[in-house]
């Protein structure tokens, strides 16, 4: 039986607190597109994506109308492309990226993920060629997102890959210098990358996945902040309960939408990603949740503890609301995509070292952080290595999406636009890790990964 208070609460969440579904992402396998003929490979990729996802946008729009809840993004993720184009060199990988871009724009989706490679233990030829192609591919496309998994708790950390990615990030920044190095906003370096992540830039359709699947990412930082505000000065046990209950409600909407989308599209439901995903809009910020919990500013001492509790309670509340949970699942802290994080960074309270500590207890990593354009490749590789080590040791996903904004330094602001937002350039400690990075090789997997 419906009651008025419940109805009004839901409507209030949607109208006033920015409750939405952040993304409905269709994962599509490209295995059957493999060919040793370049033009055949490209046409098969285009045809497969545009056929499978032909109804994605209209179906998502129909669901939005039916339930009155906005679905902000409709996206596609594909099999890591390094596995599909192994017969070809970097030039063909660039053409594959262009093909993905064309398919995305013809479908009317905003991002397509999967221009990716898994190199946690070493490089296949295809992976090497794809990584070489990344700067050109990202500079020449608009919707394509790329990710490289350089480590896992099982395999350890591929330091050769991290050294290489330091250079790739830098080169991608140079190639897109005219747009505040926006190419780097579409490039993420992962440790323990999830195979079913619906969120960009790291989405890809893993090798053990269905032929096609619907994965849904929920959102709702505004709803969470309001619920915490309403809870007043209760103790943290009571607050954890408020967070769990709210996460449950948010996730149930995601489950409903995922189930409907899967049914209407005739595609299996994959997972719900239980994430608090912010946007640059006011009232849609994870930082403001932490402040609502009692911090003067995000980045103050206490931030890591508050984020840790938030992240854990979101999972506990969300997991019961969904039949299958996957992806990144936790609170996101992308600086440029979060109005409160931007403000905290601008006032100097939120710093790179603090963000690194925060990533040890939440779902992603150093995300959407603008750094000075003259930061060296070695320093970028060092930042990546540190962040990935946190993930590998803690058996969790970590990722790095840094934007060395060409021609800009501390005090300047980089503007990416739309959901990618804007960010003050954060100062970086430039002491050199060059000798450490240059050693190369692999950092062995931690002892606790030997669980068999």
């Amino acid at each position: 039986m419906l009651n008025t208070a419940d109805i009004l609460e839901t409507i209030h969440m949607i109208r006033e607190e920015n409750l939405d579904i952040r993304t409905v992402t269709m994962g599509i396998s490209l295995w059957d597109c493999v060919s040793d003929d370049e033009s055949r490979l490209l046409s098969k990729i285009y045809d497969k994506i545009t056929t499978k996802a032909a109804r994605l946008v209209p179906v998502a729009e129909e669901i939005e109308k039916t339930y009155g809840v906005p679905i902000v993004n409709k996206r596609v993720s594909v099999t890591p492309v390094s596995l599909i184009g192994g017969a070809f060199g970097p030039e063909t990988y660039v053409k594959i990226a262009e093909t993905l871009d064309k398919a995305a724009s013809d479908l009317g989706i905003n991002f397509i993920g999967g221009f990716s490679a898994m190199v946690e233990k070493g490089f296949s030829t295809g992976a090497k060629h794809l990584i070489e192609a990344i700067p050109t591919a990202l500079a020449g496309t608009g919707c394509v997102c790329s990710g490289v998994n350089v480590a896992s708790s099982k395999a350890g950390i591929n330091m050769d890959a991290i050294r290489l990615m330091g250079g790739v990030v830098k080169e991608t920044a140079r190639r897109t210098a005219d747009k505040d190095s926006i190419g780097c906003a579409k490039l993420v370096v992962f440790g323990n990358a999830p195979q079913d992540n619906p969120f960009m830039a790291g989405a890809f359709h893993g090798v053990g996945e269905n032929e096609c699947a619907i994965n849904v990412g929920v959102s709702g930082p505004g709803v969470m902040a309001s619920a915490i505000r309403r809870a007043g000065d209760c103790d943290l046990s009571a607050l954890a309960d408020v967070i769990k209950k709210t996460a449950f409600k948010i996730t149930r909407v995601g489950q409903l939408v995922a189930g409907e989308a899967a049914k209407k599209l005739g595609v299996p439901f994959g997972i719900i990603d239980l994430s608090l995903a912010p946007t640059p809009a006011v009232g849609d910020s994870v930082a403001r949740i932490l402040e609502e919990m009692g911090l003067e500013t995000c980045g103050a001492w206490g931030t890591t503890a508050a984020l840790s509790m938030l992240n854990d309670a979101v999972k506990k509340g969300g997991v019961m609301a969904s039949s299958h949970v996957g992806g990144l699942s936790g609170a996101f802290i992308p600086v440029s995509e979060d109005e409160g994080m931007i403000a905290a960074a601008e006032c100097g309270c939120l710093t790179l070292p603090k963000l690194e500590a925060m990533t040890a207890v939440c779902s992603v990593g150093l995300d959407m952080i603008a750094i000075p354009g003259d930061t060296s490749e070695d320093v970028i590789a060092g930042i990546i290595a540190d962040e990935i080590a946190i993930g590998v040791q803690n058996t969790k996903t970590t990722a790095v999406r840094l934007i060395p904004v060409q021609g800009k330094g501390p005090g300047d602001t980089a503007v990416f636009g739309g959901l990618l937002g804007y960010a003050p350039i954060m100062p970086v400690n430039n002491a050199s890790p060059a000798r450490f990075i240059a050693r190369g090789g692999r950092i062995p997997a931690p002892i606790h990964s030997l669980k068999n």
Binding site: L2, N3, D6, I7, E62, K65, Y67, V69
Partner: protein
């Protein structure tokens, strides 16, 4: 299947009549109404059967939205499942 129609805005004459007439015209059967006016502010929630709609649900929703805009009201229509899923285990 049921839809929840929620109408809010400044109170004027004939709001219920206009929404009810639209529902009847499109084949929606109103089964419950709760309504209140606080000072000048009007709020109404209607529960309607939509199995026999003569138009597609999204057109029905668009029509209500337009009706609301013409009268300076906010009218939303949502499938009941979103409320059931969020608030009931």
């Amino acid at each position: 299947m049921k839809a929840v129609i929620c109408v809010t805005g400044k109170d004027t004459k004939g709001i219920i009549a206009a929404v009810s007439a639209y529902c009847a015209e499109k084949g929606a059967n109103i089964i419950d109404i709760t309504q209140s006016v606080l000072q000048e502010y009007f709020a109404m929630i209607m529960l309607a059967e939509i199995d026999e709609l003569t138009v597609h649900f999204s057109d029905f929703a668009d029509g209500l939205d337009a009706l609301g805009k013409a009268r300076n009201l906010v009218i939303s229509v949502m499938h009941e499942d979103i409320f059931n899923t969020m608030h009931h285990i």
